[in-house]
């Protein structure tokens, strides 16, 4: 099997996997980075969201061969100890219900706020529309993004 060098959370790692293996499963099964979640596998739910060179992407639909050489950040690498303003806002608002979707939500929100630190409510809704929360913690997600924006902006 081909060998790929990928840069995850600032560390370069080498993995031996088939070229069509989605980044999601490389992270979860090969690198033991279990914070990135599987929800649908077809880029519809956002549970698997990570940053690729600073952009929010769906790792379930990114073959490993397409990400070599780019900088990948997962929830584990977003901050040292949960201190990222988005994580802090999530804690302040007590967003999670079951919690399963939240890593993906946080990764989408943090990439979005990097580009747009002063969003309107409508912009937040559009940015977060791709992330499903089956427990429907949406009102708190919205509020947490607003609070995070004030911390960043």
């Amino acid at each position: 099997m081909p060998k790929y060098d990928i840069n995850v959370n600032g560390i370069t790692k080498s993995v031996d996997v088939a070229e069509d293996t989605p980044l999601l499963w490389v992270l979860r099964d090969h690198l033991d980075l279990l914070g990135t979640k599987y929800g649908c596998g077809i880029a519809q739910c956002g549970a698997c969201t990570v940053h690729l060179d600073g952009n929010a992407v769906r790792s379930c639909s990114l073959p490993i061969a397409s990400v070599a050489g780019q900088k990948i950040t997962t929830i584990e690498g977003l901050s040292e100890d949960g201190g990222h303003p988005v994580q802090q806002a999530w804690k302040e608002v007590d967003v999670p219900q079951c919690g399963y979707c939240q890593a993906g939500q946080i990764m989408t929100a943090s990439a979005f706020l990097d580009k747009n630190p002063n969003p309107t409510s409508a912009e937040i809704k559009t940015a977060m529309h791709g992330n499903i929360c089956r427990c429907a913690s949406y009102t708190r997600i919205h509020k947490a993004v607003e609070i995070a924006a004030t911390k960043i902006g």
Binding site: P96, C98, R134
Partner: protein, 742 residues
């Protein structure tokens, strides 16, 4: 209202003084009567959690660990239940460490999450446990001081005597551990609560926001392999043969096996009805080194399936259910007076039929489970809402002693009723038993959506008679797939309010597996009933709120024990909702819809506000008033309320699973619409303050949401929605020209 009739005696509590790590361990066991000789072990890791419904450890340094007995599915019990213990133990919540319990099945206790009952049933025993531990610490301190325990008070883990001297819990733990368990401890009055009623964030919050492995899908052990199961593509088909040549040659694939024999054998022997949960068909299992390899290789198996029973379509099922409603074969669940006579004497009759589709649960974390089966032990780990049942069933299936089963529960990425069914636990047990390796069974989203135990399609027909300006008869008929409404549901409102009242049910046994789904039956019954009451008010030309209040008035003072809803509490939530939502006082262009419902022992009223945007009605806001007794954790409670309301709105608007030739027509989120951020209303929640024992909150806010929205849509469009999902009827969403201008 009292919550439990459990009698507590000393034998219900178990303590140990010889913990290897030091400290005091106290547990509460509801069923000690059946098994009085439980001895806690010296090594805490050997603790048999099944011996305890609740359990506290106080270390020598005073640190408090509370083991949360119930599986966490997102409804917040892992936070709220330990809060009950902490309250009576009188320790500061911030100093309490909460850990999820493990299950070792030997006795039966209520260790499951479902039916919004955890808090209701835990209310007394959990507080008793905390209070008992507190009393032991106080007794120990009092002995040290040589004073009477009644002179001592406690606060935040510190005991103070009449002279003002203090001792920390840690200072007396050793002595306390050697004392007898006290009898008849007194519980706090609600007005003295310090922990209950305060906002406590999710106990796992730090782990969740940093992506720590918490869920079943995250569980891993050395040498673990992954299993992916190929199940029949349609309900009614069974496996004939398969070719695994291609799959076996794929990278990472270790084996391909066939399972299903075990279940069939047992069913034949009359041991449980396994085929109901697992389907009649054998299945093909790919065992691989990684999840992706297992899922991918499954696609490469070519299998032939044969028809075993009818391949049903939605159209076919609709016909069956409507046929039942039109027919005469019903089981009567409640009958008051004589509806037929009342209908024959009616001035006016209103009759409506309401229809709902199948719904998958769609837990965000797909079904999965871990098993490792050796001659010594059956080790099971994962997200399941019924751990004891699963453990017992697996032992039965494998012909093993239930004592061999060691089941650990993980946090669950949603439950909604799906994880009450252990099909995935039985599957992984059969697989692990065959491959003799630690194995993790993983459902793809497609597996999860197509191998469901769905909320069944249901149709209701409601007919009411009006005479002299009063509702003189009410006849509710249910035609459902699988089973029918159960328990006290036939005695919910408007039972007791209408003299001639009857509930009749009939069911069609489909081969599609069905089961509980967040607020079973009431999740759609509330829509039918509360839509009907709005139409009834329109037909009678009376105020829709007043109609409900007047009917409730008649229930006051009822002696009918089957009626467990409280007309007073119901009237109260209705009035508060009217007030808080600005009912009837809204500006032009805001259309409101009302609904009130009682289920899971809680009373709820909701008002939906619809506005017109770009010519389309949009649900902008839902005001939700809940009376669920004492609120243990308002922060968590509001999360549940918001989630329940939005879930109710979302499924009423979009939720739809149809079948063609036995095959579910949606397999993933590209074809199954769940409500998303851009579609949510603002949810304004109000919790009624009282001192009544707490009741369920995970479910009761969902049922009325659909009706509140339908009633608001009627106000906005003039059209009445009687079928869910509403999005299936775009023509009814057309807003009359006048409303757009307005």
């Amino acid at each position: 209202m009292s919550t439990s009739s459990i009698t507590f005696n000393r034998r219900s509590f178990i303590r140990t003084s010889s913990l290897a790590s030091g400290g005091l361990l106290i547990g509460f066991n509801l069923f000690t009567a059946c098994k009085p000789k439980v001895q806690p072990p010296v090594d805490i890791s050997q603790l048999n959690f099944n011996d305890f419904n609740a359990f506290i450890k106080i270390a020598d340094n005073g640190a408090v660990t509370i083991f949360s007995p119930n599986p966490e599915i997102g409804q917040g019990v892992k936070t709220a239940m330990p809060m009950l213990i902490a309250e009576e133990l009188d320790v500061a919540w911030k100093n309490v460490y909460v850990q999820q319990g493990i299950l070792d099945t030997e006795n039966y206790t209520r260790q499951l999450a479902g039916g919004s009952q955890s808090i209701r049933l835990g209310w007394e025993p959990l507080r008793q446990t905390g209070a008992t531990a507190r009393q032991m610490l106080v007794n120990a301190a009092a002995a040290k001081w040589g004073v009477d325990p009644s002179e001592c008070t406690t606060s935040e883990g510190v005991i103070t005597n009449a002279k003002g001297e203090t001792l920390g819990y840690g200072d007396v733990v050793k002595e306390a551990a050697a004392l007898e368990v006290p009898e008849n401890v007194t519980l706090k009055k609600p007005k003295d609560f310090k922990v209950i009623g305060t906002d406590a964030p999710n106990v796992d919050i730090d782990k969740i926001i940093t992506g720590k492995p918490l869920f079943g899908l995250d569980y891993k052990v050395e040498g673990m392999v992954y299993a992916s199961v190929l199940r029949p593509p349609a309900f009614g088909k069974i496996l004939d043969s398969y070719d695994d040549t291609k799959a076996k040659a794929m990278p990472g694939v270790l084996d391909v096996i066939r399972i299903g024999e075990k279940a069939k054998e047992l069913s034949k022997e009359g041991v449980g009805n396994w085929t109901v949960t697992l389907g009649k068909s054998d299945k093909v299992v790919v065992i691989a080194k990684t999840t992706w390899e297992a899922l991918k290789a499954k696609e490469a198996i070519s299998a032939t399936w044969v028809d075993d029973s009818t391949l049903e379509s939605t159209e076919f099922q609709d016909k069956q259910l409507l046929g039942l409603l039109d027919g005469k074969e019903f089981k009567t669940l409640r009958k008051d007076g004589d509806i037929n006579k009342a209908f024959s004497q009616a001035d006016k009759i209103l009759e409506r039929t309401y229809e709902s589709p199948f719904l998958p649960h769609n837990c965000m974390e797909p079904m999965n489970f871990f098993a490792n089966i050796t001659d010594e032990k059956i080790h099971l780990v994962g997200p399941v809402q019924t751990p004891e049942f699963a453990a017992t069933a697996v032992a039965g299936m494998l012909g093993r002693d239930v004592k061999d089963v060691h089941l650990e529960m993980t946090r669950m990425g949603g439950g909604f009723g799906r994880r009450l069914y252990g099909d995935f636990v039985y599957e992984v047990a059969e697989i692990a038993n065959a491959v003799k390796k630690p194995v993790k069974l993983v459902f793809s989203r497609e597996d999860d959506m197509t191998a469901g135990t769905y909320r069944p399609a249901i149709k209701y027909r409601i007919k009411a008679a009006i005479r002299d300006g009063k509702v003189s008869a009410y006849h509710l008929k249910e035609a459902a797939i699988g089973g029918n409404m159960y328990g006290l549901i036939p005695n919910f409102f408007p039972a007791g309010a209408i003299e001639n009242y009857q509930v009749d049910v009939a069911n069609y046994q489909s081969n599609i597996t069905t089961g509980a789904w967040r607020a079973p039956y009431t999740n759609f019954l509330a829509f039918a009933e509360q839509s009907f009451f709005d139409e009834l008010a329109e037909t009678m030309e009376v105020d829709r709120i007043q109609l409900r209040l007047d009917l409730l008035e008649k229930v006051k003072g009822t002696t009918d024990e089957r009626i467990e809803y409280s007309p007073e509490r119901m009237q109260n939530v209705i009035k508060v909702a009217v007030d808080k939502s600005g009912w009837g006082k809204k500006a032009d262009g805001i259309y409101q819809g009302f609904a009130a419902y009682y289920c899971h022992n809680s009373h709820v009223a909701e008002v939906a506000d619809v506005e017109i945007e770009n010519g389309m009605p949009v649900v902008k806001k839902v005001t939700c008033v809940v009376d669920c007794g004492i609120v243990v954790n308002p922060l968590g409670a509001k999360n549940q309320i918001e989630g329940g309301v939005i879930d109710g709105v979302g499924h009423a608007m979009y939720g739809d699973l149809t079948f063609m030739e036995g095959q579910p027509q949606s397999q993933n989120y590209d074809k199954y619409r769940l409500i998303r951020m851009g579609e949510i209303p603002v949810v304004e929640s109000h919790l009624i303050q009282n001192e009544i024992a707490p009741t369920g909150l995970g479910e009761p806010t969902l049922p009325p949401a659909g009706a509140a929205v339908a009633n608001a849509l009627k106000a906005a469009t003039g059209n009445r929605f009687t079928q869910q999902p509403f999005s299936k009827f775009p023509e009814l969403m057309q807003v009359p020209a006048k409303a757009i201008i307005g």
